[in-house]
């Protein structure tokens, strides 16, 4: 499908300004404190507050509900995710998760549902909510959800488990995706509802993101909290763009961190960067990041323009999950033993990057 619009990679003035701010925050605040959050297995409150102060969840919320009332912009969201992931993937995921939840309500909820749930997130301080799609276990498949919703009179009863929910312990509510008689459906579930238990889980990476499992036992949800216009394909595709942006930002951090090191580190009397075996690894990182970024941007810009984007988002995510891991591995390899010890961030990036293949439904742009 083609339109009159020219092929263009220039940012708008607004995107450029936002980018400057988010990159500065990523470099100056997030990156230096990422390691500590990883070690303590918990998010850094100041980073989370700093990201919340950017006000991203507020943007699409209607003014009447306390938001800014800007049109939905998957592209701007993707750019911010990429920028903040350059600082730290864990915190980008944790602190931007409410933005994903707002997007879900904006895209899938009716007016009543938006009025009911969005004001709790319309704030400059961190107010959490999350989309809960992924399920525990080995071979999760979104089209075959195990979590069920059964209709009992004037309410649904939800039973099952959800996994990899960021900052779940702080959330006001969740968008839980479950199978009902008509197929996949989404329900807004308040965090304090009876029958819902939240259990923190330890993972290989993303240790600062507060990832939890939700267990639902006959959780009662009123009919009115079943999202009116839910579209699983759209949720998956927008999430794939968000995850791709996380991968691109983190990989850029790996590359930017590796370049000065290989130019400084000497072996056999000269910098290792002067050797093709090392330099070509750097070149290939740069080459693959370029492809990953353009695929992510294409999917996001198609979503922004209202063009079909399922295919583009799927391919971007596939490319990102695989190439990102290649880059994470090679980052450590370039540093040798220094990449493996925890004094340097390479091993943390490696652990974090593996998550791109495992997270689903998070960070809908």
């Amino acid at each position: 499908m083609s339109t009159d619009a020219l092929f263009d990679l220039s940012l708008t003035e607004e995107q450029r300004i936002t980018r400057e701010g988010s990159r500065r925050f990523a470099r100056q605040v997030m990156a230096p404190r990422a390691r500590e959050a990883d070690e303590q297995a918990g998010a850094d409150d100041e980073i989370v507050a700093g990201i919340a102060a950017l006000g991203l969840p507020l943007m699409p919320i209607p003014e009447a509900l306390g938001g800014v009332g800007l049109p939905r912009s998957p592209l701007s969201a993707a750019l911010v995710i990429e920028d903040l992931a350059e600082g730290d993937m864990s915190h980008a995921l944790a602190a931007l998760q409410p933005m994903g939840a707002v997007h879900a309500l904006m895209d899938f909820g009716n007016d009543d549902q938006q009025e009911r749930w969005l004001p709790s997130l319309a704030s400059d301080s961190f107010q959490a909510a999350a989309v809960a799609l992924a399920e525990p276990g080995m071979a999760f498949e979104p089209s075959q959800l195990q979590c069920r919703a059964e209709r009992h009179g004037d309410a649904y009863r939800l039973s099952g488990s959800k996994a990899l929910v960021p900052m779940a312990a702080s959330c006001h509510w969740f968008v839980v995706v479950a199978m009902d008689d008509d197929g996949p459906a989404a329900f807004v579930v308040p965090a304090d509802v009876d029958g819902l238990s939240i259990t923190p889980q330890a993972y290989m990476g993303l240790r600062g993101a507060g990832l939890c499992t939700l267990n639902l036992e006959q959780v009662k949800v009123p009919l009115g909290d079943r999202l009116a216009h839910f579209d699983l394909e759209r949720l998956m595709a927008l999430s794939r763009i968000g995850l791709s942006a996380l991968a691109v930002g983190t990989c850029q951090a790996v590359l930017d961190y590796s370049i000065p090191y290989v130019k400084e580190r000497k072996a056999f009397g000269e910098p290792i960067a002067w050797r093709q075996s090392v330099a070509f690894m750097v070149a290939n990182m740069g080459i693959e990041i370029e492809g990953m970024r353009l695929m992510m941007l294409r999917a996001a810009s198609r979503a922004e323009q209202g063009l079909p984007f399922t295919r583009e988002a799927y391919l971007a995510h596939l490319q990102c999950m695989e190439k990102a891991m290649e880059i994470g591995t090679n980052g450590i390899q370039l540093f040798g033993g220094a990449g493996f010890v925890r004094d340097y961030p390479l091993e943390m990036w490696y652990r974090n990057l593996r998550s791109i293949a495992v997270l689903h439904g998070s960070l809908m742009v």
Partner: protein, 399 residues
């Protein structure tokens, strides 16, 4: 505003090229794979006339005076080359009139040279038996004798070296001065002293003539040198002079990357059709790792093709808008070159006996794809260029 879709206006060029590829190239693709060392295929002559009649890319660099973004001749070229190579890359290279030499003349030629040679079919001769990727090691010599240059040496792997009207030849004015003394010269094909030594037998691109040429006291007029005669008396000036010669590649590498895009798309389309007949459909309905090995292979190839395609469009877009794109041109050539090779070879393997046989075009596409990762700078040369850019290292530091 970020938009990675092809605008309607350029989409028309793409459709025309695709039409040409499917109605003219595809039906004769096998025929000319079997005929090596022939004349220009008859079927290509009307194509050449048609292309000569089309408005030439202005060759103008930079955004419009208003600073507005342009989608110009570089991007149009990418789309046309990609579509034609979907039809047949060897046939596209055999269309009289648009050789690599033409690109060099359009990039650095004087107005007179452009007028005289711009519409002829110009090949490019750089590689020698002793100098391939290391183009600074060229040892063909050019000596000024009165008002004429006298060329001596041997060139190989010259695409269209047999059928062209003229050849842009790289030669050194003084080998002891290194890169800076390397200049390019326009040598009409019928100049005495220029002889065709042989035409190569190849694995792919068989209809395209790849020539070995000898220059023995080959005399051309003094004004047939492209660019300036100056060698430069400072190292900085010398470096700049050679850089100017190499700049041609910033425009041509994305075009060569586009060849790989066309070849890979062709292989992937055929493979997907064959799989759909067997009930294997990669329709994005399941997560990658819940898909079958065949589905996953199809997804991965499509993703790699998409990455290479967008990178190529970006490099061309930068050229159209006057942005320095040397790094991006090499990035897209590296990515597209290896992708084209990987994809076509995987397609043969996925289609088994059928893919390996001459019953489909898959085996031919796999043979054709290999050279695209070699000519116009090998995979390794592209990586070297990208690495130097990223690391900020000179060619002395990163050899």
């Amino acid at each position: 505003m970020i938009n990675l879709e092809i605008p309607q206006k350029l989409g028309q060029v793409q459709q025309m090229a695709q039409q040409l590829a499917s109605t003219v190239f595809r039906p004769i693709s096998r025929k000319y794979d079997a005929i090596e060392h022939g004349d220009t295929p008859q079927e290509l002559k009307p194509v050449a006339q048609m292309m000569a009649a089309m408005p030439r890319g202005e060759g103008k660099k930079g955004a419009g005076d208003d600073g507005a973004i342009r989608n110009g001749s570089n991007m149009t070229g990418i789309l046309a080359v990609e579509a034609m190579c979907w039809g047949d890359v060897g046939l596209m290279l055999s269309i009289p009139g648009s050789g690599l030499g033409n690109a060099a003349i359009m990039a650095v030629g004087s107005p007179e040279q452009k007028a005289q040679y711009g519409k002829l079919y110009c090949a490019m001769a750089i590689t020698e038996p002793g100098a391939g990727s290391d183009s600074a090691a060229v040892s063909t010599t050019a000596q000024l004798d009165g008002d004429e240059w006298v060329l001596n040496g041997e060139k190989i792997y010259c695409t269209a070296g047999q059928r062209c009207d003229a050849i842009v030849v790289w030669a050194t004015l003084d080998k002891s001065l290194g890169k800076a003394a390397i200049k390019s010269f326009i040598v009409p094909r019928d100049t005495p002293g220029l002889t065709l030594v042989r035409v190569e037998d190849k694995m792919g691109l068989r209809i395209s003539d790849t020539a070995a040429l000898a220059f023995n006291d080959c005399r051309i007029p003094r004004d047939h040198l492209l660019g300036s005669e100056e060698v430069g008396d400072t190292e900085e000036a010398r470096k700049k002079a050679f850089g100017g010669v190499m700049q041609t590649f910033d425009n041509t590498r994305p075009q060569v990357a586009a060849m790989a895009l066309g070849v890979a798309r062709a292989a992937l389309e055929i493979t997907r059709e064959l799989h759909e007949k067997e009930g294997v459909k990669a329709d994005f309905s399941k997560l990658p790792y819940n898909s079958s090995a065949r589905e996953l292979a199809l997804y991965r190839m499509e993703a790699d093709l998409e990455a290479a395609r967008l990178m190529t469009l970006k490099a061309a877009w930068m050229a159209d808008n006057g942005q320095p794109n040397s790094k991006e041109a090499s990035m897209c050539k590296a990515k597209a070159g290896r992708m084209g090779n990987d994809v076509t070879l995987q397609c043969v393997a996925l289609c088994g006996e059928l893919g390996y046989s001459e019953q489909t075009l898959l085996e031919k596409l796999a043979r054709d794809s290999k050279i695209i990762d070699i000519f116009e700078g090998t995979q390794q040369i592209q990586q070297l260029i990208v690495a130097r850019h990223l690391l900020g290292l000179s060619s002395r530091e990163l050899k």
